[in-house]
């Protein structure tokens, strides 16, 4: 018989991993699959959470409506983000610019700039302190399964993450838009030459990815019961690590790695001080980069 303590830690780790996975899915779609350097995903997540907060305090709709509201805000935010931080760098259509790494990587700074502006704006508007959500909305009622205690949110997050994962896999592998996303990611110039509307494809990816980010934000807000402007930073880092470990372009890879990360962190707390458990993520990142430069699940791919 396994010590119930370890079962509980395993359950906590899986639930922690699911929360990372929730964030990692949208992040990987934009950053990894579309192959666009985007550091503003954490703020999309925060915006989704604040949209939910505003909706709840204004009209107190049912929880499903709150999530749809957050999705709408996410779609709008994704569209605006692309317009502000990414589109300007695609205005040169000559071959040299399209092939230029500098041009592609300059969005690292422009997306970071957008993220800082959004975060500071939220601080000015809402204040930087944690805000609570009404307790009726929270998804953290304890659920006991044998020796293990989880909360309702764990199941909801699992369901949502699974739906996102399956939906995206279907979108990417079975639909024309998915084909277009993969084509643009593989070779933007080639995609343009064969008649793919690259602008539209990129915008669609941002909208879909950001909707997922915003939904993750409000779900996590309801799960932990607190919302604040800097809330997107830590999940952003964890999602980034999961994505790199998973091999950048693989969404299932990122999800599996997010779970590994969560379990490793909660198990690590048993053996080392909790203050050190954040080290686990960085240690994994470094080990992956040294021993598996293509990630644990990454398919080899030619980088332009």
């Amino acid at each position: 018989m396994i010590d119930p303590y370890y079962l509980q830690q395993l359950a906590i780790g899986l639930s922690l991993g699911m929360t990372y996975a929730l964030m990692a899915i949208g992040f990987t779609l934009i950053f990894g699959v579309l192959n666009v350097v985007n550091f503003a995903h954490g703020e999309i997540y925060t915006l989704g959470a604040f949209a939910g907060l505003v909706l709840i305090s204004a009209v107190a709709p049912p929880i499903v409506a709150v999530i749809f509201g957050a999705l709408a805000v996410g779609a709008l935010a994704g569209f605006s983000l692309e317009r502000l931080a990414f589109k300007p760098f695609r205005r040169f259509t000559d071959e040299a610019s399209l092939k230029s790494r500098a041009m592609r990587e300059s969005t690292l700074l422009s997306s970071l700039a957008v993220s800082i502006v959004v975060r500071e704006a939220l601080e000015i508007l809402f204040g930087s302190e944690m805000r609570s959500l009404p307790f009726d909305y929270l998804i953290n009622t304890p659920v006991r399964i044998g020796p293990v205690i989880l909360v309702t949110g764990d199941f909801i997050i699992f369901g949502v993450a699974a739906a996102m994962l399956i939906g995206l896999q279907y979108l990417l592998t079975r639909t024309r838009i998915g084909l277009a996303i993969r084509a643009v990611s593989n070779n933007p110039l080639g995609a343009k030459y064969v008649g793919i509307d690259t602008d539209r494809t990129i915008i669609t990816t941002f909208v879909v990815g950001s909707m997922m980010g915003a939904a993750a934000g409000i779900l996590m807000g309801l799960y932990y019961g607190a919302i604040f402007p800097a809330m997107g930073f830590v999940p952003g880092i964890k999602a980034f690590v999961a994505m790199v470990m998973g091999g950048l372009s693989s969404i299932p890879g990122a999800v599996v790695c997010a779970l590994i990360l969560g379990v490793a962190e909660s198990m690590a707390t048993t053996f080392v001080s909790s203050g050190w458990s954040d080290m686990v993520a960085y240690a994994f990142l470094i080990l992956t980069l040294i021993f598996f430069p293509n990630g644990l699940f990454g398919a080899r791919r030619e980088r332009v």
Binding site: I12, E120, S128, M130, I149, A226, V234, T270, S274, D278
Partner: protein, 380 residues
């Protein structure tokens, strides 16, 4: 009227306005030079801890407005600088304040770490520094220019240890955030527990801003403590208490005055019930000066009740202002320091404050328990 004449009138008007503005500025300028004393306040106004710094600024503005409206022979101006709770930034601000010869005293910073980093600069320059919250034991030891308006963990730890021993808790788990302050919480408390014949069953640090305490809670529970003593602020505290409730843990929780904020109850809801902590500010105290501060605060915060930190900041600013007044006319940094050191029985909202020979504020602590969604003073 011809077009030329119209332009002319406009020009004349502009000129006369300009002259008027210039004259006013000149007068204001000379007035500023003659009767204005400058203080610096370094505090986090952006970043992770901005909520605290913004509260301090609000408290300082209340204290300053009262002082300037009281018809004193001079006015005081406070220069606020944003340190983002970053030690490097804090040191830069300290250099800036030191270079401004008009500044005779400095308030802040928020965290012990940043206050201590900046203190090195103030020590060299001989500029008095009064922090409303830096409670690390080493802070006031840096030089004769460092003062604080908060009970240190060296004072609060033994007080709480005695309280818990009196309640019959022998085996105690201690957790605190991984900061200079958190270490002083664990240090100050653990030694006193052992001195009282108790045992520290478990002791661990967590990173500030941790989201998920469930792993840590399971680990604490495995050590089977009688009670948990915690060194955290209200955000971390609320998360911890809620997850404690989720996991069905009933072990009593004790904490320091740092967690004493109405936001703790707002964020944790009924999970905060039964938490014991110490405080030196009670917004429900009917004393007129306390109610005056609470009313002023509510008027500027949409009806919210102030926590302990803003109250400490309000008192710190008023103590500094009183010292400046005592050192005037022509206050210098040295005179302000000496006046601060002489502060005795200052009647603040956080109790009477006296700086002892080590420039520590001797505070009276009150025992508080969360009951029915409010902080209620308790006798034992």
């Amino acid at each position: 009227m011809t077009k030329g004449a119209a332009t002319m009138t406009v020009r004349l008007r502009t000129l006369s306005t300009l002259a008027a503005v210039l004259a006013t500025t000149a007068i204001a300028g000379s007035a500023l030079a003659a009767d204005t004393v400058k203080l610096g306040y370094q505090l986090p106004l952006t970043g992770d801890t901005a909520q605290y710094g913004q509260d301090f600024r609000k408290a300082a503005e209340i204290a300053l407005a009262e002082f300037n409206a009281a018809g004193k022979p001079f006015k005081v101006e406070i220069v606020f600088e944003d340190s983002r709770s970053d030690a490097k930034e804090g040191t830069n601000i300290a250099r800036k304040f030191v270079d401004d010869k008009a500044i005779v005293g400095v308030l802040g910073d928020f965290t012990s770490g940043v206050s201590m980093a900046a203190a090195q600069v103030y020590k060299e320059a001989g500029l008095p520094q009064l922090s409303q919250t830096a409670s690390h034991p080493d802070y006031a030891k840096i030089s004769k220019y460092q003062f604080r308006n908060i009970a240190t963990q060296a004072q609060e730890g033994p007080y709480n240890a005695k309280w818990m021993a009196a309640k019959g808790f022998k085996n105690i788990a201690v957790i605190a955030e991984q900061t200079d302050w958190g270490q002083s919480v664990v240090g100050g408390f653990s030694d006193a527990v052992k001195a009282n014949g108790g045992a520290v069953a478990f002791s661990e640090f967590f990173n500030r801003g941790l989201k998920d305490y469930r792993s840590l809670i399971s680990k604490i529970e495995r050590a089977k403590p009688d009670a948990i003593y915690t060194g955290f602020f209200y955000e971390d505290g609320a998360q911890f208490l809620r997850q404690l409730q989720q996991l069905g843990v009933k072990t009593p929780v004790y904490s320091t005055s740092a967690a004493y904020s109405p936001k703790l109850i707002e964020l944790a809801g009924d999970a905060a019930e039964g938490v014991h902590l110490t405080s030196n500010f009670l917004p429900t105290d009917p004393a007129p000066h306390i109610q005056h501060f609470v009313d002023e605060w509510k008027a500027r915060s949409g009806g919210a009740v102030p926590g302990q930190f803003p109250a400490q900041a309000y008192d710190a600013v008023r103590i500094m202002l009183a010292a400046v007044e005592k050192a005037s006319p022509n206050p210098t940094r040295e005179k302000v320091r000496d006046a601060l050191a002489q502060t005795k029985d200052f009647p603040g909202v956080t109790g009477k404050t006296t700086f002892n020979a080590d420039r520590e504020a001797e505070k009276e602590l009150v025992k508080v328990e969360v009951k029915g969604g409010a902080f209620v003073p308790v006798a034992d």
